[in-house]
Symmetry: C2
Subunit: 352 residues, 2 copies
């Protein structure tokens, strides 16, 4: 491959960016020059996707671009932010115009959907590795942190969970790869629509930007579901325990978990918690709200037609006077129809 050819990669990404007044200079100088609106703080996130680790090595480039944008914007959404600017670092093994064309079309479509300008990046040769850095705005002091959960908070999540994992399992089975979970799931029960829905939930997630913004001033804590609810809830418990000096736990009601009918059809009931709590890649928002803000939450979510479900409560596990908060293994107590139950969740280790 000639270097000259490789230099052409840039042509797929310039001159197609969302125009924004706050982008003074975009692609084409040593740096982009940007204006942050008065009264706003900046929120910044970086995510990398590696071929064979975060997506199957034969994945559709349009799907890869879609997901790369979504997972990054999801982090902005989890702060209650408005996404604005993206920088793309693209490492590719070769110059493949069909791949680049499909990837860049999808990337630009996604960025336009969220109103985000591509402001710069880098293209290099190597194993396929894609890093996107996304920047957005929050009102000064209004970002939704992980660490704000308090004893008594109600725990909610947006949309439905577990679908992305089910979609991945369908894809892996279709590729005749080893079964993700040893127990049975039955593809034959699914309609084509259900199947497409689950696969799309894995390949083409939607970042919950409107939900995050609706929660500003209402939620005490928020995180996006990338690793799976059980794991991401522990991030909230751990960060919040440190801040409030009280070791926090969570009570989660399994029968309340929001599951799509497609997932309920596809996966046997015993496995629903596995998919919903350990599946990962859902990019829904998990958040906690003080009981006194419950009515306000219900009103704003209804006004914007945003789906969400009450799934549990934050409880106190002990005082910091007696125990070292940071050394506590934060606990999640699972209930099934209000009966305390034990769960053995399998970890989810990408494609290994």
């Amino acid at each position: 491959m000639a270097t000259g050819e490789f230099d052409l990669i840039g042509q797929y990404f310039t001159d197609r960016s969302v125009p924004r007044d706050d982008v003074i200079t975009g692609i084409g100088d040593d740096c982009a020059i940007l204006s942050v609106p008065a009264g706003k703080q900046l929120v910044v996130t970086t995510d990398t996707m590696v071929s064979g680790i975060h997506f199957l090595s034969d994945a559709n480039p349009a799907d890869i671009a879609h997901k790369l944008v979504a997972v990054n914007i999801s982090d902005i959404a989890a702060m209650g932010g408005q996404p604005a600017w993206a920088s793309l670092a693209l490492t590719l093994p070769s110059f493949d115009s069909a791949w680049l064309s499909a990837f860049s079309d999808s990337l630009h479509r996604q960025l336009h959907r969220y109103g985000v300008s591509l402001i710069g990046g880098d293209t290099t040769k190597g194993n396929m590795t894609l890093t996107l850095t996304l920047q957005g705005f929050v009102e000064h002091g209004k970002a939704l942190p992980r660490h704000g959960a308090k004893t008594g908070d109600l725990i909610y999540c947006s949309g439905s969970i577990g679908d992305a994992n089910a979609g991945l399992k369908l894809l892996i089975d279709a590729n005749n790869r080893t079964d993700l979970h040893p127990e049975n799931s039955d593809e034959a029960l699914l309609t084509k629509n259900d199947k497409d829905y689950l696969i799309a939930r894995h390949q083409r997630p939607t970042a919950r930007v409107s939900t995050g913004q609706a929660l500003v001033g209402i939620a005490n804590s928020c995180i996006d579901l990338s690793d799976g609810l059980a794991s991401d809830l522990k991030h909230i418990l751990n960060a919040s325990s440190r801040v409030c000096g009280v070791a926090l736990s969570a009570n989660i009601e399994l029968s309340a978990l929001p599951l799509s009918t497609a997932l309920q059809t596809y996966v046997s009931k015993a496995l629903w918690p596995q998919y919903a709590l350990a599946g990962g890649d859902d990019y829904e928002l998990l958040f906690t709200v003080s009981p006194e803000h419950k009515t306000q939450l219900e009103e704003v979510m209804a006004a914007h037609y945003l789906p969400y479900t009450h799934i549990g409560e934050i409880v106190s596990a002990g005082q910091s006077e007696q125990i070292e908060v940071e050394k506590i293994e934060q606990q999640i107590n699972y209930f099934n129809d209000k009966q305390l139950t034990t769960l053995a969740l399998q970890g989810w280790d990408h494609f290994q």
Copy 2:
């Protein structure tokens, strides 16, 4: 490699960051939260380094980290900016605590040197690929662009050029790899100090932050020397020609090029232009200044003890009324003691 082990990578990068008042939340939430000072614009750049392409696969991790920071900060310097925040996307083939320890020590040392906070990033498994996104500030409307060169501008560069390429050649020869340039260069003539100096110029470049800031309000255009002066000057000519509607060329005086004594000792005289103009990786600044600002430039550079050299002039190659500016192959005219001369420069294609 267990995933659990891989998760530990984060420990090498958290809690060692430069404290800054404008970092409201750093590593540890979905996004960093940042405040841009009033009256400032943001400048943002992203650079990726891939093992075997941008550095030898057995390169010292401390050198890799040093260079990764320097090349990114150099882009901020070229805008006249003040670096502030960095996001690191680290893709590594395995968990190697010795490598991580040396890499992260050097990274933090470099970031502290420039006063930059590490605000976030991502760690993933895959072929070694390192992407740094750097953000900094410029006074509103004061950034140094590539596109501001005008007919009659004096052309300058900071420091000395060609050293990094000579250092790389020394390294490659030491590794018994093929000769970078077929013509002779003589390592035996070098003192150990000279050799160390040239290798350090390749492995541990310094970003010219003070020089860039001194040029704010004085230089019409500026770029950092990453590809080599001949190539980077064309970026200035091309961008500036589009903006001013006049096809610009440059006259460069070869005898004026700032060469270190180490380079002059190591490389035979016939090859000096090859190293100085096509070598790349120098991370000096190339900039143009109107003649009426010459005295002001001399004063500010002297006041800050900043080395720089006058190497040529911007000239007009034709009017846009007659010719389509974008289709002109921008020309650089090389002079040797004021005699027009021809040069055949070899391109520089990383390690291929």
